[in-house]
Amino acid sequence: MSMELNWGLPVIAYLFLAGVGAGALTVSASILLRGGGGHFGGSHFDMARYGALIAPLPVMIGSGLLILELGSFHAGHWFKFLNLYTVINLSPMSIGTWLLTAFIGLSLVYAYTFLATDGAPGDRWDALRRSCAWLGVPMGISVAVYTGVLLGAMPSRPFWNSPVLALIFLFSALSTGVAAIMLTRTLFRKFQIRRLEAVSASSSTRRTSDLDVEGQYHQSGYILAASDTLLIGLELTAIFLFLIFAYLTVGDVRYAVSVILFGGSLAGTFWFWVIFLGLVLPALVELYYVTQRLLLHQSFAVPLGIEIVVPTIVLAGGFMLRYVVVVAGQITGPVGI
């Protein structure tokens, strides 16, 4: 198959980055609403903070990349993409344009409420922060789901034309969002611990946890790892459903899915990069540490190397998932003429 790809690296990167941003916002807002708003002490707030500060960036970069892929941009009409804002119709891309714009706006405001380094639950931005979080959960989920709908809307692309694809993208978005938060907090580990110390020193009322600062840090790591394992499990389930329903059918979809099944041209990439490296391996590693705490009640302490490698391969797997899906959809088509 020697097809020219109409949608190449920019679109692949966009689908990945929009997922990371949408996931980070959803996870951050959920943590904030669930407990980071004040009851669980500083470390939850810090997780919400990292998610909030991460969220707008990848989505803005991804949307920018999309513009680079436009034919009008290549032909020198740099700003023609603004035509998108003159129309609202039922095209998933039109809905997506407005959704992304709203997302970027909301996530920037949300991030702004976390910007002050001494930000804490109950500060003067609290009300705005919480309202943004309430909007942020549905908004993040919508952006993540929409990336799947965008591809799924076309009968001419049997590989993409599956409602399960949007679910796979949603779970992948959430899990890569968690991974992005994990990676950031690990890289800024020292900074975070210093902040936690400052918070616990400045006010003892805000702390309800008995854990010391190091313990708090690992406690939030535990929550991230546990939720990531769960999300990866859900993602694997969705991928299984995608594969099995495509495999058990006949015609277009069966033919299309064969490119990622045994003997298909993308099979190696899919099974190694997406399934093994991006999902199974990190899930097993996280499970190993999570069960130690869950079942054996040992303290959750993950070596620094693991804390960097695991989210990195989750992110790499998320990117390769978009790569395989975008390419597979374009090198296959309906059977017969």
Binding site: L70, G71, A75, N83, S156, Q330, G333, G336, I337
Partner: protein, 246 residues
């Protein structure tokens, strides 16, 4: 933009009214304004592949008509070769946009640049609006679309709108030495194309896509290279940059 065909009764009335109209293409085009008052027009094409000799005159005429950039094709002729010696055949399948009645390309366009004209059912692209997002290129099940590298906009066959609106046949129809192509109003039961479609076994491409194409074929060879998996030899030569159908 209701493209549904006129109900039978109305068609009969239109038929009676249109009795004075000759069945030639030019006349069929010329009666359009009068006929449009009572029913919608849906231009379409009927390609009799038995009359096609695979000479590519249509592709060349189209290239010249629109100055289509090198490497892109609005209209092309595929060769379908199959069988084992001595039981072999080579058939020709001229291809173009089907000006579908349910065009998926229109459904997905985020700017409204691609739309189906209410007055004649031709699916067109407004290059001023189009941002070249390629969504329609992905959505068309017939690979009829491409991004024009000069304008940066989506491009494809427009049934020679500039000619048709002046009552002249599309360039590919006029140039076809085998007279394999018939162009006209599918909704006019008196038109040559409607009569031929009514009295011949015809087919459209990929009917399962649900796009309801308005380009019909007589004796089209629907063989595809994917049939090789069943063990029969089929080779399709697309004669365009996209070496394989997708």
């Amino acid at each position: 933009m209701d493209q549904s065909k006129a109900p039978p009764q109305e068609s009969r009335r239109a038929f009676l009214k249109g009795l004075s109209a000759s069945a030639t293409l030019a006349a069929a085009v010329a009666v359009r304004p009068a006929a449009a008052a009572t029913r919608t027009v849906q231009y379409g094409m009927l390609i009799d592949t038995r009359r096609c000799i695979g000479c590519h005159a249509c592709s060349v005429a189209c290239k010249a008509e629109f100055d289509v950039p090198l490497g892109n094709t609005r209209s092309w002729v595929e060769y379908v070769e199959k069988g084992e010696y001595p039981n072999v055949s080579r058939n020709f399948l001229p291809r173009l946009c089907n000006h579908c009645s349910e065009p998926n390309c229109v459904d997905v366009c985020p700017t409204g640049a691609t739309f189906k004209r209410a007055e004649d059912g031709i699916v067109v692209v407004d290059p001023e609006r189009c941002i070249g997002c390629k969504y329609c290129v992905q959505a068309c099940p017939y690979d009829a679309r491409f991004i024009n590298p000069v304008t940066g906009a989506a491009d494809k066959c427009d049934f020679c709108l500039h000619r048709v609106s002046r009552g002249i046949a599309p360039a590919c129809v006029e140039t076809c030495i085998g007279r394999a192509r018939i162009f006209g109003d599918l909704n006019d039961p008196n038109s040559e194309i409607a009569k031929k479609i009514a009295t011949n076994p015809v087919s459209v491409l990929r009917p399962g896509m649900g796009t309801e194409p308005n380009v019909y074929y007589i004796a089209a060879d629907h063989s595809d290279e994917q049939e090789r998996r069943r063990g029969s030899y089929v080779r399709v030569t697309t004669h365009r940059k996209e070496k394989e159908r997708r």
